[in-house]
């Protein structure tokens, strides 16, 4: 067999092996009805946010342009969710608002994970004084009530969407450090780590090649659920005015404003609240499904 033939054969085998694993994962996912439903809900929201300008006849209102002639219209065929106090179509506001709210959710978790994973892995694997130092700093951070800390940081940095995101991310990373450290410590005792050391592999390579890939699963599960919570926290920040500033649409600010009008024009505050509720719920349910799908052994039971 020539090199090319061997290479082709190997490539085919590699593809087949991977396809099988993905196939099993997709199957496992599809079997979980609730998970599928959540995925659909999340997809709807994400697509809605991305394609917002094309999905509504009122893109400028969505972005913030007032239309004072249409103030406080109740839900109707032209305005399925009614209009707000500046006459803007609420549905359009929700679609565009999804960009800030969902955006905060994803970015917060990504930043927290990027900070938390390396810190946790290094702490867990090294042990000794490095572990102590990192974990005590983590503990210190965790001793502040997270929402208050986020508010304090955001207030110090000045109210804006970006600053709110930074503030929340800064209160979230310690959880991931702890999670990853615990996983690392338990992995450290496994034989394959000893085997790697016995092969002469250096410490950093062990952490990246052996520890981190095995730590991905719990982080993925936790992260998926956390996106929902991050969205909620982001909305809370906006609610008190520290997040997205008007006229940037944001579900939290919409609820905040909607509070005042809740008696006469309930649609303004209710629909953004509903949106937050649905998205958070969907991410939480998805987290459970991700956990089941990610375990290669549970995939194989019918």
């Amino acid at each position: 067999m020539s090199i090319a033939e061997r290479w082709l054969g190997d490539w085919a085998r590699r593809q087949q092996a991977q396809l099988e694993e993905y196939g099993l994962m997709v199957r496992a996912f599809r079997r979980d009805r609730l998970g599928m439903l959540s995925l659909v809900v999340i997809a709807v929201f994400i697509l809605g946010a991305i394609f917002a300008p094309h999905l509504t006849p009122y893109p400028e209102e969505g972005r913030g342009e007032p239309n004072l002639a249409n103030r406080f219209l109740p839900p109707s065929r032209e305005h399925p969710f009614g209009t707000d106090y500046l006459g803007r179509d609420v549905l359009a506001r929700i679609l565009f608002g999804g960009r800030s709210s969902l955006g905060i959710g994803f970015l917060v978790v990504i930043i927290a994970v990027v900070i938390g994973i390396p810190l946790g892995a290094v702490a867990g694997y090294s042990g000794g004084w490095l572990d102590e130092v990192i974990m005590r700093i983590t503990d210190l951070w965790l001793s502040f009530p997270p929402l208050l800390l986020a508010i304090a940081i955001a207030a110090a940095l000045g109210p804006s969407l970006t600053n709110a995101m930074i503030a929340i991310a800064l209160t979230w990373w310690p959880w991931y450090t702890r999670l990853v450290r615990a996983q690392t410590v338990s992995l450290r005792e496994r034989f394959f780590i000893e085997a790697a050391r016995g092969m002469g592999v250096n410490r950093m390579t062990i952490i990246f090649r052996h520890i981190l890939p095995n730590v991905v699963t719990p982080v993925l599960v936790q992260g998926t659920m956390d996106i929902g919570s991050a969205i909620l926290t982001g909305a809370a920040m906006s609610f008190i005015g520290l997040g997205a500033q008007p006229p940037i649409p944001d579900w939290g600010t919409m609820i905040s404003k909607g509070r005042i009008y809740i008696m006469g024009q309930p649609w303004y505050g209710t629909f953004p609240g509903l949106a937050i509720f649905l998205v958070t719920l969907a991410f939480n349910l998805m987290g459970d499904t991700v956990r089941d799908v990610a375990d290669p052994r549970s995939r194989r039971v019918a």
């Binding site: 995939r299 194989r300 019918a302």
Partner: protein
């Protein structure tokens, strides 16, 4: 009271997995008499654990008993209600497992756990339960029963934990003990102690024991009769002495030959070629045929019948069907 305590007829158990149906147990027939130790021996995947669990109707999901009859002390196990089964589990049939630490609740002391079992099945006062607990602990050879009763499971060694499990099993006067690999996780010297204890209990209390194991040495030393399982089929069954001294089935021979013995040093062990099939496909003929050095045409086509080759000695192999000779 008849001598027969348990009778299993034509038991079939299937597991539904993503890849298809796994035929874990295929037409197993066996019987256990009062006061005997019956060994169920085989390698991983032969269905021995599941068979043991089926006596208590504790076959885990996604498995289910799809055919067969199980009789315990005259009662048809498979037709009982769940409530009636609960009255049997732990009271008339008890079970001990491989990892005693996992079977004991870590937040209750040993004495409390035994008392709980006693009072679950018998309407007795606390004092009587306490008394029985101490008696049980002494019966299983634990030193200083009052002290042991106060300890928590994690404070005891593996061997002592397993004795506690046996005490738990005996606490309600069970007539059958199902022991699933009870000594596999223990050191050899402790294993010897536990097996001696089981033999003593058989003799002193007339306890019947179904000993599920993969260790032929344990079978040889402790069991009165044995059934050898392969992929859910009983391939050979009979008294221990007959099985070891006049083994007939090629699988039994292969299994015994593959065990290192004193004097086998340096020579390659006669290993059975190939590996155990997964149980996914329905095999028309003999399950061992692909690996059998005596395989004949008929072995691939039809399942071998159980043939009597000696007193109480049965083999499922075409080599012994009338006319065939070895």
């Amino acid at each position: 009271m008849s001598e027969l305590l348990v009778s299993v007829e034509n038991l079939h158990i299937r597991f539904r997995t993503y890849a298809g149906q796994v035929h874990a147990v295929n037409g197993v027939n066996l019987d256990i008499r009062r006061g005997e130790v019956f060994g169920l021996v085989g390698e991983t995947g032969c269905g021995k654990t599941v068979t043991g669990l089926s006596l208590l109707r504790l076959v885990p999901h996604p498995g289910e008993i799809v055919a067969g009859r199980i009789t315990f002390d005259g009662q048809d196990i498979l037709s009982l209600s769940e409530q009636e089964m609960r009255d049997i589990r732990g009271a008339r049939i008890a079970m001990i497992f491989q990892d005693p630490a996992a079977s004991l609740n870590p937040v209750f002391s040993v004495g409390e756990q035994i008392e709980m079992v006693i009072r679950q099945h018998q309407a007795v006062t606390r004092r009587v339960a306490r008394q029985r607990t101490l008696e049980m602990l002494e019966t299983v050879g634990l030193p200083d029963p009052p002290q042991i009763a106060r300890t928590y499971p994690h404070e005891l060694s593996g061997g002592m934990q397993q004795r506690v499990m046996i005490a738990l099993a005996l606490a309600s006067n069970a007539s059958l003990l199902i022991a699933d690999e009870p000594t596999t996780a223990l050191d050899v010297t402790i294993q010897a102690q536990i097996l001696t204890l089981l033999t003593q209990l058989k003799e002193s209390r007339g306890l019947s024991i179904l000993l599920v194991t993969h260790n032929m040495g344990v079978v040889a030393g402790t069991c009165d009769r044995v059934a050898v399982l392969y992929v859910g089929h009983v391939v050979e069954r009979g008294r221990t002495r007959d099985i070891f001294k006049e083994m007939k089935h090629p699988y039994t021979q292969g299994l015994l030959a593959a065990i290192p013995k004193p004097g086998s040093h340096g020579k390659p062990l006669p290993a059975i070629s190939g590996s155990v099939p997964s149980g996914l496909d329905v095999i028309p003929g003999c399950p061992f045929e692909p690996r059998c050095s005596y395989a004949m045409q008929v072995c691939r086509q039809s399942p071998p019948p159980l043939v009597c080759v000696g007193r109480e000695h049965y083999v499922a192999c075409h080599l012994f069907v009338k006319g065939g000779s070895k």
